[in-house]
Symmetry: C2
């Protein structure tokens, strides 16, 4: 059973925390969206464990925080809680280039690791727009995804070893530097994606991948999602290079974004049902470009109405990719527009998007979604053409359209953004009861007092 | 707390089990190495759940069994237990070629799935010698590895979705067909590698990979493990094709096996410290062979004493790979020879093997190990030149040499074979106490009566 909420003696708590992390690292100000009593900044796993031990003894709950770039309210805090930030644990402890492995502390920002790895011709195999601020610990705790998941998996698949602090202050240490390890339960996977509700990730061992020396990009205008998936299949089977990214942009998205960025027809036709940005990576630029041309040619053979632009320079390549990355344009047109993040099995994508477009058109005078995302792994982002937030009734109606079909074919209503507070209620009502039961048993086992990020993921 | 051992009424139990799975599927004979009272063969997840529910109610413990190819005694059973075999759940329920995904029941043998996927030009991305008998459920439960783990990960990384039966009979269902899913704790990872001690895996969704149309193989004779890792690095960065397998065979292994297979010097020099079998996969045979020649050439530039054979035909390629697969030769020379299965970070391999060779040479008149394994992922198999079993003292001395260095640099004393009964004691003494504590908490939460495969992994 959870303990009754405690009313800690704030002065005594501050004193105790200062004694283990140093007074300058216990601060009042924790930002406008935090209501916690303190921000605590431990500098080592031992200090994290000491803080957790004190809070456990006093019944004070902890909100762990990385780069604070999450989208589901996983770091919201309340009076009576402390925020534990990992940002002082920001060392890259080692890079083993021959192993393609890095050992990093949780507070390292993704971009810092990307730059350090690049010095060895390597990369973390994961990339996302918040790279400058998102921390490795936060990305592990939320099982971050991004544009290379079709090839390198999600954050869960990048982690070889982990050190974490359990809710009672015990240090869990399993810093293996190898991919094969069957020595007992591999419990690091409990902490990946648990959003800090089962413990605090402090250090990890990550796999790295070779960075391709060259890349080549085509943007294809195509008649259907099926045609886009065919092109992706061709790229996956290319003799030369490998598929690096495959992003789908449905017509409403590409029209709004390309126009906002000043692209002009007819040099760039905006009337195709879907655009596919396809990037190959490899060694030889000319070979890659030839492979991209072959994919374009084969696509034209099958779909004579297809259009395409092959990037002729790095600058043109960057321009094409800016169409995908510049999602801000949606929110400028529709401030606070509600956004959704679903996973759809590839062969269901076409029918699913049709269902969503038709279903939303029937709601409240007609909603038209912007759909875009990681086509090679089935992760679609859906943003409504409405200023947010929606009323509760409208929100439920939209969720029903978007989420209801997913379970039948094995999709997910939260692909890469997590649950936090934003999707907790839907998780509780729409998840298999056996899975909910197992989640509750695990939470109860590791955090019976419910002190680790309470009110997130699980009620 | 665990219940006291029960003394079930065998007749009543048999009757109850027959009622849920059908009388023909409750059998006495369970094989010479089983002492359990019954073998029960459920045909569906619902039947597995019914069997588990009955056993849970009566306090009867269950030993789950797949293809029974494990090497650590994970399927040993005792009087008062039942063996629950998944072999009747042997349907490939669906293959989605465009998604590169298969939905399979736990009792499907790996080779059956390989053949079914091959019809679509796909493969499960995992392969091992017991493919004809090992089942997918067993491979998931033991987190199987094999020769492609450097590229496609281990079994854990192949599983997208899972259905399992918890120790109380609850069905856990999370059959997602997507790689990105952050909707709650991803508890399928609890069942992967738990060797049936936390529940019974009944169905899984697996990722598939395109099968390369062509392959090319070189066997390099090299002066050191470091030279072998350099060649692997070249292969990983090859512009053409991709590294499919990289197996290292140290001199004692290659000498014994090649001679037993009738290879003759000087056509095939056997005096190099290490041989590396390197296979590229890709589309165009001529391009692949050229890439392999380039790797050989670059290796010769750096190591003028290197030797090499490039397979000139599929038959020659098969002959080369038979050197790696024919591990039976070791056991013919040394019946019952003790074997070990460790993971070593790549940059530690050279020094580790030196340590092992020197350390074993000092034991009991000198032991000389045969070392071979998956060089690209650091998984070494070590077989002693002694008939087994060893005395307990000798066994401890060998383990001390082999296992002691592993933890300091993040290796593993059980890479891909699991813990079972064989390595349970070492796990208990050599594992981080925080990890052991977390394991115990999870076991207690899911299986408080200790009815699921008791006496394996955890005491």
């Amino acid at each position: 059973m959870a303990r009754p909420p405690s009313t800690p003696d704030l002065q005594a708590l501050r004193h105790a925390l200062s004694a283990v992390v140093g007074a300058p690292y216990v601060r009042d100000a924790v930002g406008p969206d935090h209501m916690a009593d303190f921000l605590v900044l431990p500098g080592s796993t031992a200090e994290v464990a000491a803080v957790v031990t004190i809070c456990h003894a006093q019944g004070v709950s902890i909100v762990p925080q990385g780069g604070h770039t999450g989208l589901v309210g996983g770091c919201q805090s309340h009076p009576g809680q402390i925020v534990l930030s990992l940002t002082r644990m920001a060392q890259i402890e080692a890079i083993y280039p021959d192993e393609r492995v890095a050992v990093v502390q949780a507070g390292v920002a993704l971009e810092i690791l990307q730059n350090a790895a690049l010095a060895y011709g390597l990369e973390p195999g994961i990339d996302l727009a918040a790279r400058g601020t998102a921390t490795i610990g936060g990305m592990v705790s939320t099982n971050a995804g991004g544009i290379m998941a079709h090839r390198y998996g999600v954050m869960r698949h990048r982690v070889l070893g982990m050190e974490a602090v359990l809710p009672d202050g015990t240090i869990y240490s399993d810093m293996t530097r190898v991919v094969k390890n069957t020595a007992g339960y591999d419990l690091k996977h409990l902490f990946v994606g648990a959003e800090g509700t089962l413990g605090i990730v402090t250090r990890v061992v990550l796999k790295l991948e070779p960075v391709p020396q060259s890349t080549a990009t085509v943007m294809l205008g195509l008649p259907s999602a099926a045609a886009a998936l065919e092109a992706i299949s061709l790229a996956l089977r290319s003799d030369v290079g490998h598929l690096r990214a495959a992003e789908g942009l449905w017509q409403p998205y590409i029209q709004l974004t390309a126009r906002a960025q000043g692209w002009a027809e007819p040099s760039f036709p905006l009337d195709q049902p879907i655009c596919l940005l396809l990037m190959l990576g490899g060694g030889n630029q000319a070979d890659l470009t030839e492979a991209i041309e072959q994919i374009f040619g084969a696509t034209l053979d099958r779909h004579p109405t297809a259009t395409g632009i092959i990037a002729a320079s790095q600058r043109q390549e960057a321009d094409l990719w800016r169409l995908r990355e510049d999602t801000d344009q949606l929110y400028r047109a529709h401030p606070g527009a509600p956004s959704y993040d679903v996973s759809v099995p590839l062969s269901e994508i076409g029918a699913y998007v049709d269902h969503v477009v038709n279903g939303l058109a029937g709601i409240d005078g007609g909603i038209a979604p912007f759909v875009f995302g990681h086509l090679a792994d089935g992760n679609l982002h859906i943003v409504l053409n409405r200023n947010g937030p929606l009323t509760a009734d409208l929100s439920r109606a939209v969720e029903e359209v978007l989420y209801t079909p997913l379970r039948a074919f094995g999709g997910s209503f939260s692909a890469e953004h997590g649950v936090g507070v934003k999707r907790m209620s839907y998780l509780g009502t729409a998840t298999d009861p056996g899975k909910l039961r197992a989640m509750a048993l695990v939470k109860q086992a590791l955090d019976p007092d419910r002190l680790m990020n309470p009110g997130k993921v699980l009620p």
